[in-house]
Amino acid sequence: MRGQQLRWLKRELRSLGSRVWIILLAIALGVGAVNGVHSLADSIRGAIQNQSRPLMAADIVNQSVHPFPEDYQNLADEYETSETKEMLSMVSNTKFESLLAEIKGVSPKYPLYGEVVLESGQSLDEQLSINSVVVQRTILKRLGLKLGETVLINGKPFTIRDVVESESDRVNVGMAAGPRVFLSLEALERTGLDQLGSRITRKLQWKVSEEQKSELVTTLGNLEEQHSFVTTQSSNRANPSTSRSINNSERFLGVVALMSLLIGTIGVVQALSNWLASRRNEIAIFRCLGMSRREITGLYVTVVLILGLGGFLLGIAFSYVGMSLLLEIVQPYIPIDIVLQASIWNWLSALVLGVGVSVLSTLPSIVSMTQVPASVVLQDGQDSYGGLRWYWYGIYGVVLFGTLYSQLQNLLWSAIALAVLCLIVGLVYALVYGIQTMLRRQKFRSWTLRHAVRNFASTAFGLRTAIVALTLGVTVIVSIGLMQDSLTKQIRNVSLTTAPTNFFVDIQPDQWAETKNLLQDNQIAHLQSAPVVMGRISKIKGVSVSKIVETKPDSERWAFTREQRLSYDVPIDVETVLNGRFDETTPDNGLCLETRYADRLGVTVGDALTFDIQGIPIEFEVSAIRRIQWESMQMNFFLVGTSETLLEAPQFRLAAGQLTEEGEESVQTGFAKTLPNVTVVSLRNIVERVSVILNSIALAIQTMGAFSILMGCIIMISSLQASLERRRKQFNLLSVLGSTQVEISKMVSTEMILTGFISGVLGSGLAWVCTWGLLRFVFRMQTMPSVVGTLLSAMLVTVCVALMGRWIRPGK
């Protein structure tokens, strides 16, 4: 770039004054939010990927709830493998004091990667035998045991040989149901826990070289097609459910980031357009002195490019600070070390976003300004606002579409979102236009009121655009606030009044009477119980599941291949039935499905579902689709059939209820003595832990939202200030003609109250509607946004904008 162009650039940047910070912050807000969310998600994925071997304790893992077919056993003989079986079960001391533990039976070669560190320093294989176990210290503490003493598992005695300090492949530490107990596979068999209804997760771990890996993965993939209940996971790919969680979180945070980007874009467009409009006279002088349109366009595009670059750099810095803080909050609940990564791709995307949005969204204004005729220099004192030609709004549409697509990654959704945004903008514009037109016709005696209303209703000085921009900004900001309020309320709305404190699982049918007596003797409240029949879906609408899952990605296969729990004779609230009916008129083979699960399977009322229940195919017809309120923590089943079909099927029972802490202890002791196979799950600790985690998530959401709101307010203030600046001459004229500063302040305040009221009411109202739509259709929640919050927001905006009128004064 030539020296003189650099000098011109420097002078134009200087002419921005303090506006430059608003523009940089506006760009940084959007860039920072977007880069931060994606960088954090990538960092988590990267950490999982890098640590996947020790996390999995293998290169490849097969998982199944049934014993592995012979094909797998034969193949395993050709490789280095280990096997584990995990389940929840009660463990007790000889006084029958018990607690829930995570039992893990392991083969001698376990773990193939990573390590299980024991207190003695010995290896796990050395300490385990058919009669011995290794436990986490919590078990010794809670049951008052020492090394060498006996622990009972399903009534069978085992000697405690060692204490486990850490294990590399235990990823659910924060949410573990109980402390760990290691035992050998032979010892696990001795416990007799492996029976119908017990939920054993069987894993086969493989250790292979990189050269062998792809061949083995292919072979296992082929086997999976024959045995769809077995899943395969390799260390190259993150666990599908983890991927799902990360993708969903990224998507949600991406929505918040997108809203931040929208606020930022509004701010950039407003600030830069106002600045360019204020340069109108200077541009006329440039033209008069002989500067060509190309030179003027080049100059201002370069200014905006530099601002975009500056905003990008600031945004990147913001994002890493913000994400570091976010990581501080979530890291305790993730057992892998996450280091924020700098992804060149994310940076490039952020750069294109920041610079692209800045340049494209101001290009119409820049080009419009170059059309300023040089003869304006002879029109002293006239400051008419040159609006944009209608076709330039197409550029804004392109910019918006690009911005939406960058987050939604889906053309159809982006188009829908753009259409909705255009509708909102058009609606706001029409409403403001209507209000302005109506007010312009009113007559007032008081000149300050008259001027205030006329100014508000004026089409000059870009006021309408400023009011529309302010309304849109309020809409986005209040939407963020309402959404985070609704989401955190939903998170905290775990109803504990009637929610059970305990679940009882693995109750055999002939044990139910004794179980019920034990519970009632211990004053259990709100006792619920239901039979559970295990089965797998074999066909959907006549098509085999193994054929269906061929075309499904890993993240969606689980819905089709997992072991299902069907129940019957459970109450179904008709209010929750969304489609069909499930009552006395339902056919014997009728089935009621949970709505989201039905969507995943792609079935609706009238469709056929065939289940394999202990080798027997049973065809059901979908009779009803219902909604389940999971946060009620009641016993709920995705699949409910009729007793006519399921009564004779192999089954066990599940129960839940409320117990006092003493009652819980007494019940645990009772079960340990007489029904040691029954597992007692205490929800007290889990709810507490979940509450802590969810509070942290709520805090993270609120922090992001608050930052966006704060930035949005700063941007809106600058937008209003710019509008007031352009009326400086009007204020000076009023002063010259004899108005006092008090009268002028009164006029400005009245105008600001009117602006704030209209923008506040319109913006908050629109925010309520947008939030309702987002909650209902995107997050699939029934929660209604807060009406009180909406009204308060409208009032707050009115008051804040009115106060701004007192504080923001254009310079003389």
């Binding site: 020296g3 002088i285 002989g290 500067m291 220099v377």
Partner: protein
């Protein structure tokens, strides 16, 4: 050497609702090298419109205009801009300085635009001219820190710095008090004489106009020579 300004049958009209306003009607005249010509007329007579046509800031509805032998009436807006850059200087009633530029930067700008001299030479020239006009100690001050008279002197310096063959001045003393106006007037005329620049001056001030070599009068869009 060609006659600096030749005007033949120049007209400019503007639509106004259902009627057309003839701001300039069939104007014809010539301005010779080194002349100082004043165009006078009451408000609304069309003198500012005529000035904008002569300076290439606007294009005529009809007629011909040759400036330094170049047919301005045939040029596009961009061609006229480039022409202004190379050959014309301007002084305005409201100074029209760049508010965010210092006095020196304002005066440097036309030289930078022309690109005919190095930056260092341009600074030297601009500094010398500003010092000559009594603003040697105000080089790095912005217009907002200057009085009206000082601002107009900066504007005059900007107009003359490229030594344009023709200079247009639109009410150069219109925003100044008498005393300051006289100072500015003197500076303008002194520079004009020294550089033999052809100056076309638009003013409503007859006393100022009488100091010109010739007076042309605009009335109702028509031009006549005043005795």
């Amino acid at each position: 050497m060609s006659i600096p300004v030749t005007v033949k049958g120049l007209s400019r009209s503007f639509p106004s609702g259902e009627t057309t306003i003839q701001a300039v009607q069939d104007v014809q005249f010539e301005v010779h090298q080194g002349e100082l010509v004043a165009i006078v007329g009451s408000s609304g007579s069309g003198k500012s419109t005529l000035l904008s046509l002569l300076a290439g800031l606007d294009s005529p509805s009809a007629g011909g205009l040759w400036v330094l032998g170049q047919p301005l009436h045939d040029m596009s807006e961009e061609e006229r801009a480039l022409f202004r850059r190379q050959h014309l200087g301007f002084v305005f009633q409201s100074f029209q300085l760049f508010a965010e530029y210092t006095a020196l930067e304002n005066v440097l700008f036309p030289l930078e635009l022309q690109g005919a001299v190095s930056y260092e030479e341009a600074v030297q020239t601009a500094t010398a001219l500003l010092s000559r006009l009594g603003l040697g100690d105000r080089l790095h001050h912005k217009p907002s820190k200057m009085s009206g008279g000082e601002q107009q002197r900066v504007a005059i310096a900007r107009a003359f710095v490229t030594q344009p063959p023709i200079l247009f001045a639109d009410e150069p003393t219109g925003n100044l008090d008498n005393e300051t106006g006289m100072v500015v007037e003197k500076l303008l005329f002194d520079l004009q004489r020294e550089t033999a620049t052809t100056v076309i001056l638009v003013t409503h001030d007859l006393e100022l106009a009488k100091k010109a070599d010739r007076i042309l009068e605009m009335s109702g869009g028509r031009l006549s020579e005043r005795a």
